[in-house]
């Protein structure tokens, strides 16, 4: 691959930084929420009003109904919602990551033994990019990347079991490209270098 243009590098750094940034609340957030809860004191009433009435009577589904939520329950629901938002947006640096656009562990796991890893490659001239590795039997058709906007930044998130994984990108079905931001796997057997990522500590 040719040398990366500094402007392209800057762009991809910005995007990667945005992808990794977490949702931040200012220091007074908790204080303000609690003050509001104490101030309101009364249950919060939420109404679901049907959006359209049908002639001939109400169906169960369209009947207006109310829910009562205590301030404490409301706060708990808000906290749960905030946690979901944060979990969905925080991107932690994985073990094995190098600066730049290295794969990031998205901190969302179906099981403790699996982590979701986001892979990113900048390839402005590519029309198709796929991820291949020991986790998808090196099948170029298994894990295509999606282009982000029109900047030629390709990305995909993959659930990976804990452990050390070897991988590469395939550009336009022919060009094998190691991840420029991840360590190279040593001991390549086929003259096409791979990259390596270790998810978690390792598999035991």
């Amino acid at each position: 691959m040719s040398e990366m243009d500094p402007r392209e590098q800057e762009l991809i750094d910005r995007i990667a930084s945005e992808l990794r940034s977490g949702v931040r609340f200012d220091a007074s957030f908790d204080r303000r929420v609690m003050a509001e809860v104490r101030r309101s004191g009364t249950p919060i009433r939420l109404s679901m009003v049907r959006s359209a009435r049908r002639p001939g009577g109400d169906s169960w589904l369209l009947r207006p109904r109310s829910f009562q939520i205590t301030p404490l329950t409301g706060l708990a629901a808000a906290a749960a919602f905030a946690a979901i938002v944060v979990a969905g947006s925080v991107a932690l640096r994985p073990q094995g990551e190098m600066p730049g656009t290295a794969p990031v562990v998205a901190a969302v796991a179906d099981t403790p033994a699996v982590q979701v890893v986001r892979f990113v490659l900048q390839a402005p001239a590519a029309s198709h990019v796929s991820l291949v590795g020991d986790f998808n039997e090196w099948n170029p058709a298994a894990t295509p990347l999606e282009v982000v906007a029109s900047e030629g930044v390709w990305t995909v998130s993959v659930s990976l079991p804990l452990g050390r994984h070897v991988y590469a990108f395939v550009v336009d079905g022919a060009e094998w490209v190691p991840d420029p931001a991840a360590p190279k796997a040593l001991g390549d057997d086929f003259g096409v270098p791979n990259s390596v990522i270790t998810v978690g500590g390792s598999a035991s």
Partner: protein, 216 residues
């Protein structure tokens, strides 16, 4: 040499066994001869209680990369031999994960002697993480001798797996900050002993990590 003989014997035994069933993935993506060659290694590894899936994946990697049949069979044979050597160094009761991690470390340049010393230092707990960290440090560019010495020392000192992965993270940060891999390893692992506390209840004879700076 001994490992090669053992691998060959295992191969012969596997070949003599009942007609082996060809892995469907090999059949689909390799020519018949290469698939049969690879399958013979898979069967031999299975018969010897060694991991087999990495052998299949190695063959599939070669197929996807367009490698020729003999090249693929050769790569699988090398990996098979590394598994045999890794278990020889780690002991017959080694777990599959340890063997795979040890093979990665050996592929990166670590010696069988390093593996033996690590096993001697930690007999009753898995070495998978330690071996993975060793392979990773070498992949980051830490000289093999330095990485090997450091991991042996840390395991001898009773460092827990999470401490080993923390050390690896520190090396990464150091490299990211512009240090050379060797200097980053030295920086990360020459911190105060408190940074790498010995596991509570560690076996008698455990001592705080002895940090030996990597050779320049």
């Amino acid at each position: 040499m001994r490992s090669l003989i053992l691998a060959s014997l295992a191969l012969l035994l596997a070949g003599a066994s009942a007609a082996a069933q060809l892995d469907a993935r090999l059949e689909a993506r390799l020519d018949a001869r290469t698939a049969a060659d690879v399958q013979s290694h898979v069967d031999a590894a299975a018969a010897a209680g060694l991991p087999v899936e990495p052998l299949v994946l190695k063959a599939l990697e070669g197929a996807s990369k367009g490698a020729r049949g003999p090249q693929i069979a050769g790569a699988v044979a090398r990996l098979h031999t590394q598994f045999v050597e890794a278990r020889g160094a780690l002991g017959p009761r080694s777990a599959a994960g340890e063997i795979v991690a040890a093979a990665s470390a050996m592929q990166a340049g670590a010696s069988a002697e390093t593996l033996r010393q690590m096993r001697a230092a930690r007999r009753d707990a898995p070495l998978t993480t330690a071996l993975t960290v060793l392979a990773d440090l070498i992949a980051y560019g830490v000289p093999v001798a330095d990485a090997s010495t450091l991991l042996i020392e840390l395991v001898r000192a009773g460092a827990r797996d999470d401490q080993l992965t923390d050390a690896r993270g520190s090396v990464q940060k150091g490299i990211g900050a512009g240090l050379s891999p060797a200097a980053a390893a030295q920086e990360a692992l020459s911190g105060p002993p408190a940074a790498l506390p010995v596991t509570p209840g560690a076996p008698a004879g455990s001592r705080p990590p002895v940090v030996r700076p990597p050779t320049p």
